[in-house]
Symmetry: C2
Subunit: 496 residues, 2 copies
């Protein structure tokens, strides 16, 4: 096992955890962390530590870490900063291997408090233990079921790992991805990064076999050179999707009172990201959209795309967005045009975007997509309009005018709609697998509770495939896939 | 009544409607339009016209418009282009006042088909009737309950009116807004705009007392000068939010096969929009976000904003986004800082964004917001983190460790969470009303089915107030409100 995997092992895969500052009071962090650890149910020992309690949440409580029997791999600390130094000292004496200091009130507050943080750094260096924080919300690892964190989020297991200089932003990403059925491997809220910095965690994620896609929310980096050197090494293996906080002067001012980081020049930062192959996004929503695309879609070989739509305007804005995202909406080769002519009624757009112009969806749409995805000039596809099965049925159901004679006839019709849509989604997934090309879906059906019930959307979501609410969001995600694919090819050449 | 209101009256407030091409076949447009008209249930006569049927959906069917008894205000036509000319001619002879040609297959297809379109133009000019289309999906007016359209969308009554050169994009906006409980007054799908152009409809919306906010999806304008002159007059009274399709060369190519419009130079178009006070958005989602903000929030007097957040990182990205959206995240005046010190535990950010740094929400948050909104240096507010009542209760409910002894204790706790959150939302709305300042909320709670159940989110949505899924989306919407407010002030000065 590599040195870095070994070093982080006690953090993510501990055999025993102490929660120092564990509490009976449900609004205290010391309660929440213990509670979330227990809810996660990891296969390891858990020791609450608090001199004023005997039992917390059914577990024996110890007056100090030193009284805990046996070895402790990981200590999570929530006691106030005034006494945290003493507690960390005891952890060092106990030879705890990793410490997460959740406690806030350090360098993010002022100069005097910064001294307290320096004491922690001294202890960590002396004791040679891994320290996360202070001023963080904790860490998680889904495959070891460790949820040593304030937030009550329990994501599914999956390919994403987060390093976040904001606990809340990490939490937001977890909640969103849960909704889309995409899972996480690990999450570190790095707080003030007194010793362990974002680049250390990125380096670890680079080696970690469970992590396939790295998400980073960064407000500032202390050692830019080291950060980007590590990032560049990692992006040759795995994508790093980054949101940078403090890109504007006023945001930078907010950063300084948040994590005490120095946001630095945004232009310099941006160009360093590009050189290191980091995929920098503009907004939290883009991070979500890209994270899910990178988790569940194959990388395209190039940037040449096809677009299929039921309605012209949606195709137009998709084409605009693809173009702005660096993709090439190709002119269809003669052979493909002929195939389309055979499939579609004559009023189709004879162009890419392929606009079915209101021709009945389902089967025709599937055949179009099949023809396009098999076209060797096309590297990836966007299809627009999936998921309106439930709405259609609802309309029929609610209509006193619709010529449906019996309940059983309605039931049959409902079932046939559902089946048609499930089949449509299954065909999309089959085509992704067969072609190895990304195929992104967009539909406003996902904006509605009815849409959420659509068999097609449910089928895709089961596999973690997101149906983007607008064509532009799908285009942006596909553009990022294509750019990263290009970057990988270029770096592969460099290495030759 | 002004001339333009009079001219559009038969379109939106007809006393009788004929559907020419009405059909018994549920997949035909002629069925769908008639069906949607009947579902809407307007207070007017409806006549299906089709020589091959006697009765459709319970209504007497007429062989031609000329056989229809009495006057016909509005005719909606779905027959194929080859026979549509004859049908429109009969409408002229019958002195129908407005005609919507849904039929496609005209100038969007080619030169030969363009000739057919010119025949329609000739007839409309000669007969002096209002003609919408061809190649459109229909029109709607919620207060007269007229849904003369292919799409099965029945939005609530409300302040938005759409002119769209794409039926689908209009439909998408309707579905989204329905989800957010924001309603529409009118919708015109203008298609190829053979006679009635987008600017005519915008001019009408400018005068229409039911329309407060105008949404326009435009792929191209034929008479730029006229378009922007009218728009400039209208934006002094009502905001026009515009999405432009075909802003890129490849999008423009798609436009030509969609509505046969010429997209033109995007730079020129953009600068003309700015001069006319049109709020141009980059993507469909922005249109939704702004439409809802303009419908339900007061306009700010200026661009100086306050941000309140439960978590630092979300505050940082909100500040960045505000700044990028042209807003000023002000330094808090001494007096407000002192007020905050009294309300919040000492670890708060002492800065704008006001970061509660994990201090318990609800009551504290309300007091902060109250202090900020009353600060005369602040024109508008963004608050982040509403809506986590249901999640908290769920966590407690699902936990075998939580010290809750009985069902009734759990019920009491659940109710208290709900009440707290309902109260929080009610306070937000009270503060908007009292201060006359916009107060936008953002929370990832809306991404989840649980969040949708949040009492706070439900209470806001009841009033059509959107909780934005990310802080950046709220900031973008608030920025647009502030820019429009500034524009109104500037144009008011010009007129003096």
């Amino acid at each position: 096992m590599s040195e870095i995997l070994e070093r982080f092992r006690p953090l993510f895969y501990p055999r025993s955890i102490a929660v120092i500052g564990a509490s009976l009071n449900p609004v205290k962090w010391g309660f929440e962390i213990l509670h979330h650890l227990l809810l996660g149910g990891p296969d390891c020992k858990i020791y609450p530590v608090n001199p004023r309690e005997k039992i917390i949440l059914g577990l024996n409580c110890y007056p100090s870490i030193k009284q805990v029997p046996g070895e402790v791999d990981l200590a999570v600390i929530t006691v106030p900063p005034e006494i945290a130094t003493g507690v960390v000292k005891e952890c060092a004496e106990k030879r705890v291997k990793a410490v997460v200091v959740v406690t806030a009130g350090y360098s993010e507050v002022g100069e005097r408090e910064k001294k307290l943080e320096e004491e922690l750094v001294g202890l960590a260096e002396q004791g040679k233990f891994l320290m996360i924080g202070p001023n963080c919300q904790g860490i998680m690892c889904t495959d070891s079921r460790i949820f040593a964190q304030i937030m009550g989020v329990f994501p599914l297991e999956g390919p994403l790992s987060i390093i976040s200089q904001s606990g809340n932003i990490g939490g937001t990403l977890c909640r969103y991805c849960e909704h889309y059925n995409v899972g996480f491997s690990k999450f570190v809220s790095s707080g003030n990064e007194a010793t362990t910095s974002s680049e250390d965690i990125i380096e670890y994620y680079g080696e970690d076999p469970e992590t396939r896609v790295i998400l980073a929310y960064i407000e500032g980096v202390d050692q830019g050179r080291k950060f980007f050197t590590i990032a560049k090494r990692v992006t040759r293996k795995k994508p790093i999707i980054m949101l940078k906080g403090g890109g504007t002067p006023v945001g930078a001012r907010a950063v300084s009172s948040h994590t005490a980081a120095l946001a630095g020049s945004d232009t310099v930062f941006d160009s360093a990201c590009r050189q290191a192959g980091i995929i920098r996004v503009e907004a939290l929503q883009d991070m979500l959209d890209l994270a899910i695309a990178f988790s569940t879609q194959p990388l395209p070989r190039g940037g040449r795309v096809g677009i299929v739509t039921m309605g012209g305007g949606l195709g137009v804005i998709a084409a605009d967005a693809c173009s702005r995202s660096g993709l090439e909406v190709i002119k269809l080769p003669e052979k493909t045009l002929e195939e389309m002519d055979k499939i579609l009624p004559s009023r189709w757009s004879h162009n890419n975007p392929v606009d079915l112009a209101g021709a009945e969806g389902g089967r025709l749409m599937t055949r179009c997509i099949e023809a396009l995805i098999r076209c060797p000039e096309i590297d990836g596809l966007i299809e627009i309009g999936i998921g309106f099965d439930v709405q259609s049925v609802k309309e029929i159901k609610s209509s006193p005018f619709f010529p449906i004679s019996s309940e059983s006839e309605l039931a049959t019709l409902t079932e046939s709609f559902k089946q048609r849509n499930r089949r449509f989604a299954e065909n999309l997934m089959r085509l992704i697998d067969e072609s190895g090309k990304p195929l992104l879906s967009a539909s406003d059906a996902v904006a509605t509770p009815d849409g959420e019930e659509s068999e097609a959307i449910k089928a895709l979501r089961k596999r973690g495939i997101m149906v983007y609410p607008t064509p532009e969001r799908a285009a942006k995600a596909l553009g990022a896939l294509a750019r990263y694919s290009k970057y990988l090819k270029e770096t592969a050449k460099e290495t030759l």
